[in-house]
């Protein structure tokens, strides 16, 4: 570094009154940053992104065709039964888990404080996070469906009605999961504890929400408790997409309950949005 370079290169312009860059444009830049960081962090790719796909592959291989699920005379392969739960899990991991951990870590290490020192609008920051969630969850789900169909012969729906259901459950679940992640990011007291504090509830919910085995095997109180959270409803909505309609009788309520699914997910979306907007902090708890 030489003095001449600094004096010639860094002139201060006079009388410039340019406009601030738009919030959307900055949000897209942030989205690009988030995606670059995500794909370069190997652990996040393996444990968040590939997790549902690996789980499907392992479970479908282990149980294979020996353990078909039979309901009212209709038989589906284990892989087919397992797929909706993994789609739902993927949605929650790519939204809630990824966002809650990354925001908690970024608050702890000062990334947020640094961003706060720039003219970046908070909206653009969250837009970047939402873009990351959206891109990863779309890629993850597409890959998951492809593996299920091609490697394990799971029949995918061929009527528009089911794909419509898929679309709204997916969109509502992704949105609810993302705002939950933002709101929950204030819970871990430090970046180091973030993973444990964020992952534990979602791990427990995977077991109690009918992701790994039918919810009918669960005690009633556990099912009632899990019914308060989005994962159970996303999984149930996805079962209505990927399983034959007769299997609705295997649900605890005996129906797919689309109305309740939409209501619970929308409620989480609104409540988490309000809570998140009120509790979001740029700085650590201990930083003034």
């Amino acid at each position: 570094m030489s003095t001449t370079a600094t004096t010639t290169g860094l002139d201060q312009r006079e009388g410039t009154a340019r406009r601030q860059p738009g919030t959307l444009r900055q949000g897209l830049v942030r989205g690009g940053v988030e995606l670059l960081q995500f794909v370069r962090e190997r652990d996040s790719v393996i444990f968040g992104f590939a997790y549902p796909i690996l789980m499907l592959a392992i479970f479908a291989t282990v149980f294979g065709d020996d353990d078909p699920i039979v309901v009212d005379g209709v038989t589906v392969s284990f892989a087919q039964y397992f797929l909706p739960g993994m789609v739902a899990t993927g949605v929650m991991l790519s939204t809630y888990q990824t966002l809650a951990i990354s925001i908690a870590v970024e608050r702890d290490d000062g990334t947020l404080k640094r961003l706060r020192a720039t003219p970046l609008p908070a909206t653009s920051y969250f837009l970047g996070k939402v873009l990351l969630s959206l891109v990863t969850v779309l890629a993850q789900t597409a890959l998951l469906l492809a593996v299920a169909a091609l490697a394990f012969g799971v029949p995918l729906p061929d009527d528009a009605g089911r794909w419509t259901t898929f679309a709204w459950v997916f969109v509502l679940g992704t949105a609810a999961g993302a705002v939950c992640g933002v709101a929950y990011s204030s819970v871990p007291s430090s970046g180091r504890s973030a993973s444990a504090v964020v992952v534990t509830p979602i791990l427990v919910l995977q077991f109690t929400s009918g992701v790994f085995f039918p919810v009918t095997q669960l005690p009633g109180w556990m099912l009632d408790l899990s019914s308060l959270f989005p994962l159970k409803w996303i999984a149930q909505g996805m079962r209505s997409v990927f399983l034959p309609d007769v299997m609705a009788s295997a649900e605890p309520s005996g129906a797919w309950q689309h109305g309740a699914t939409a209501a619970v997910l929308a409620a989480w979306l609104v409540v988490a949005l309000v809570v998140g907007a009120r509790t979001f902090r740029w700085r650590r708890h201990d930083d003034g």
Partner: protein
């Protein structure tokens, strides 16, 4: 005294206290006044806990204040918006955020938030990171990270740059080139508010030095005149039958001549020294530490007494 309009920073009676009624309050800033004129480099000096960082973070808009008047670029940082943020640059004291982005990617992404950013490659060159342009920021050394911090602080072409202890952990050569960068920025019209522990850094860079202690300004002036002529008075010291004697005087030669006259011809005066207090001596006396020159407190005696009370 200039009017408030022409000042880049104007602070009057700033107060900030931490703590709670139960645990007791501590005044981090206790009635601090500060002015920074356009194009000036002002260094804020003070021991740890003097309130430097709290003050700077209030000026940056990161913290609320309890009392006092604060104007930065004509606005109150508490209420200032994005357009104001685009006019300031911030290099914070501790930055631990590391990322998988390269230096160039990070600087570019930050530039996207400003209305009139500098050229990213140019800024990276100015802080001496051209060779690390495509390196992941996670892989940078401490000194390189600090330079990246500075690059991110100046990418938006700020009118006012805050540097909070920018060269902590630098090797001497890195500090030297960093100083060139800072003076280069000042020469191009950037106003700079710097906090530092290093006296040589303040002496080298600052047009004006402000010494803060216990949340108030105890002295302010150019590095050459800080503490007033009194604090710069030379000290003559010698041993008299094993007892250390000192004399502060504007005419050290006369004192030495008197000592020579009193001594036997051709004999040495034991332990003779004539010391002119350095900026460091003046600073230490101002913040109430014992000055180092021959163990003599050169500042106001009250400062030394205070440190004993505090200890």
């Amino acid at each position: 005294m200039q009017t408030s309009d022409s000042q880049v920073v104007r602070v009057r009676g700033l107060r900030k206290r931490y703590g709670s009624a139960r645990a007791g309050f501590k005044d981090a800033v206790a009635g601090l006044d500060l002015d920074v004129a356009p194009g000036e480099i002002v260094a804020v000096l003070g021991p740890n806990g003097a309130g430097k960082t709290t003050t700077v973070e209030i000026l940056e808009g990161f913290r609320d204040r309890d009392a006092g008047e604060v104007q930065v670029l004509g606005e109150d940082p508490r209420r200032a918006g994005r357009a104001w943020r685009a006019r300031i640059g911030v290099v914070m004291q501790d930055s631990r955020d590391m990322s998988e982005l390269t230096v160039l990617e990070k600087v570019r992404a930050t530039a996207a938030s400003y209305p009139d950013p500098r050229d990213p490659a140019e800024v990276i060159g100015a802080v001496g990171l051209e060779e690390k342009m495509r390196a992941r920021t996670r892989a940078l050394s401490g000194g390189q990270r600090r330079r990246l911090d500075v690059a991110l602080g100046i990418i938006g072409r700020p009118e006012l740059l805050f540097l909070d202890e920018p060269t902590t952990g630098f090797d001497p050569q890195a500090r030297r080139s960093f100083w060139d960068l800072v003076t280069g920025l000042r020469d191009s019209g950037t106003t700079i508010l710097l906090t530092t522990h290093y006296l040589d850094e303040a002496a080298m860079l600052a047009d004006r030095v402000v010494v803060v202690r216990d949340g108030v300004v105890v002295a302010s002036g150019t590095p050459d005149t800080l503490g007033g002529p009194e604090a710069r008075t030379p000290v003559v010291a010698w041993d008299d039958d094993g007892v250390r004697r000192t004399e502060r005087t504007d005419r050290p030669t006369a004192v030495v001549a008197r000592l020579i006259a009193a001594a036997r011809p051709d004999s040495e005066i034991p332990g003779l020294s004539v010391t002119r207090p350095t900026l460091e001596d003046v600073y230490l006396s101002l913040i109430g530490e014992a000055a180092i020159s021959d163990g003599v407190g050169v500042g106001a005696g009250a400062g030394v007494d205070d440190s004993k009370e505090a200890a």
